[in-house]
């Protein structure tokens, strides 16, 4: 157990500079952009004898700021998302590539190999949630900057929920409803598990490995599409299921998929994986 924590610590530590880089980039970018926009909005509203009073905009809230500049605020977030998606694969492949061949060490450790799988999973989750937390904190910082720059008469109040909703990408990544949050991130975790398992399949019987991996990935996609298709074709209605039952079935299918992915991945790690 303690060794698992040590492995997680190791995985987090080896990624820390990149993570800090992502965090710093996101923070600086979003803050800088806020300063620039806020100053601009303030300038727009400054009383000016030369201007027609009709053209001077009324007070605004930070929500408007965010929603008016979707791509700008979304950009660093997108970079983070893509980076993490890449690292979901790199976190494994980096151990095989290069002179290091660190995978030798990892597989030879006296601890159960399942720890390797779990520690990388835990590390990824930590990265994801730390970035999410950062974004939430940044929203507050953005509001603070906005309030600092815009005088009270140009400002409207905004609720925190509005802040989140202001940017489409952020709103997508941080659903307000806990149920939706669990749903999305639950599915995401299952997909992450599937990705891990596909990677491990590829790393087992090469070159047949890549075929296995793709076959597995295809099989794993059957779950979401199957669920959706079944809904679309009215299969559920014909079976006389209630909404709740459909939902719980879907949840069950996803959980089973996740469990299967993890079980298969760990099994491959123990039995077939090859340096």
């Amino acid at each position: 157990m303690k060794a698992l924590l040590k492995l997680i610590h190791f995985e987090v530590r080896r990624f820390r500079w990149f993570l800090f880089g992502l965090m710093a980039m996101t923070a600086l970018y979003q803050m800088a952009v806020t300063v620039v926009y806020a100053l601009g909005e303030r300038a727009l509203r400054m009383p000016d004898p030369g201007r027609d009073p009709e053209t001077i905009p009324g007070p605004m809230s930070v929500y408007h700021l965010l929603s008016r500049h979707q791509e700008t605020y979304a950009l660093p977030v997108l970079v983070c998302v893509v980076s993490l998606l890449l690292y979901a694969f790199l976190i494994w492949y980096r151990d095989w590539l290069g002179r290091g061949a660190f995978i030798y060490r990892l597989l030879m450790l006296p601890q159960p190999r399942a720890y390797l799988y779990l520690s990388k999973l835990a590390a990824m989750l930590l990265f994801i949630f730390s970035l999410l937390s950062l974004q939430l904190a940044l929203l507050l910082v953005i509001e603070g900057i906005f309030s600092a720059i815009m005088p009270a008469e140009f400002r409207l109040e905004a609720r925190f929920a509005d802040l989140v909703a202001g940017n489409e990408l952020i709103a997508f990544l941080l659903p307000v409803s806990p149920k939706v949050f669990l749903q999305y991130y639950g599915m995401g975790i299952v997909l992450l598990l599937a990705a891990f398992t596909a990677i491990l399949l590829e790393r087992s019987r090469r070159p047949a490995g890549i075929v296995l991996a793709l076959a597995y990935a295809a099989a794993m996609l059957v779950i979401p599409f199957g669920v959706i298709l079944a809904g679309a074709t009215g299969l559920y209605e014909s079976m006389g299921l209630y909404i709740n039952e459909i939902m719980w079935t879907a949840v069950g299918v996803w959980l089973a998929g996740g469990a299967l992915a993890a079980w298969l991945g760990i099994r491959v790690l123990n039995k077939n994986v090859s340096v």
């Binding site: 040590k6 030879m108 006296p110 123990n270 077939n272 090859s274």
Partner: protein, 241 residues
């Protein structure tokens, strides 16, 4: 004793191992020799569970450890790790790690068998400093450090994959010297190497691999006593009849 029995391994079409059987006796230094691509490295990795084989059995001190037979379940990974130390032919640590960090890594994950004092002694013997980045070490120095990482683990068996390959003369001498020290004493050592001459006087037993099977096994001193032949002589007989 490590008992290898009827090991089989195919790579695509190539049938690399066709039923290899031999043993690694405790306390003796056994050399696994063979031509390039004979599968020596594969055998070591198979013992260590780094590579699955297609058939055969690998028993370490009586317990079956082959992946395909056991699924590596139970505490097998731990059992294997505590019994056998593997020294691969490449530094198996992230290049960005420093010498000291690598030592702490081993101490962290092998608390039961990591001998810190031995590691430090070996570090001094090889004149290695703690602050160096592993990626910046020369090939010879990296090989020596690799040895430290393996030998400081108190395991009854040690596997070494080409410890001399591609290494400068003086590093090779330093590594050969290790065989005379107490650091290997009492341990069953299995080494693969092309540089037989480097270790001719250090080896107790020889296992010759040819065409995927063991062509000959012998005790080097017995062979010298009985037939006045060196290890190289026998190898010439077997590989170039």
């Amino acid at each position: 004793m490590i008992e290898i029995e009827n090991l089989q391994k195919r790579y695509f079409r190539k049938h690399v191992l066709r039923g290899v059987s031999f043993t690694v006796e405790p306390g003796l230094i056994t050399c696994l020799a063979g031509l390039n691509g004979a599968g020596k490295s594969t055998i070591l990795k198979a013992i260590m569970g780094l590579v699955p084989v297609d058939g055969g059995s690998i028993r370490i001190d009586g317990r079956e450890t082959a992946l395909h037979l056991t699924g590596n379940r139970g505490q097998l990974n731990r059992y294997r790790a505590l019994k056998v130390a593997f020294i691969p032919d490449r530094p198996a640590m992230p290049p960005s790690m420093k010498v000291g960090e690598a030592l702490r890594f081993m101490a962290d994950f092998y608390p039961a068998i990591w001998n810190e004092e031995k590691a430090r002694d070996m570090l001094a013997f090889f004149e290695l400093g703690e602050g160096e980045r592993l990626g910046s070490l020369s090939r010879g120095t990296a090989a020596k450090f690799n040895l430290v990482l393996g030998l400081a683990l108190e395991t009854p068996y040690v596997l070494m994959d080409e410890p001399f390959s591609g290494i400068d003369l003086f590093s090779r001498e330093a590594i050969a010297d290790v065989f005379s020290t107490g650091w290997l004493e009492g341990r069953g050592v299995l080494i693969t190497t092309h540089e037989i001459r480097e270790v001719e006087h250090l080896i107790d037993r020889v296992v010759l691999l040819k065409d995927g099977v063991v062509a000959k096994t012998f005790d080097s001193e017995e062979m010298r006593l009985a037939e006045n032949k060196s290890i190289v002589d026998i190898m010439r007989e077997v590989y170039r009849p």
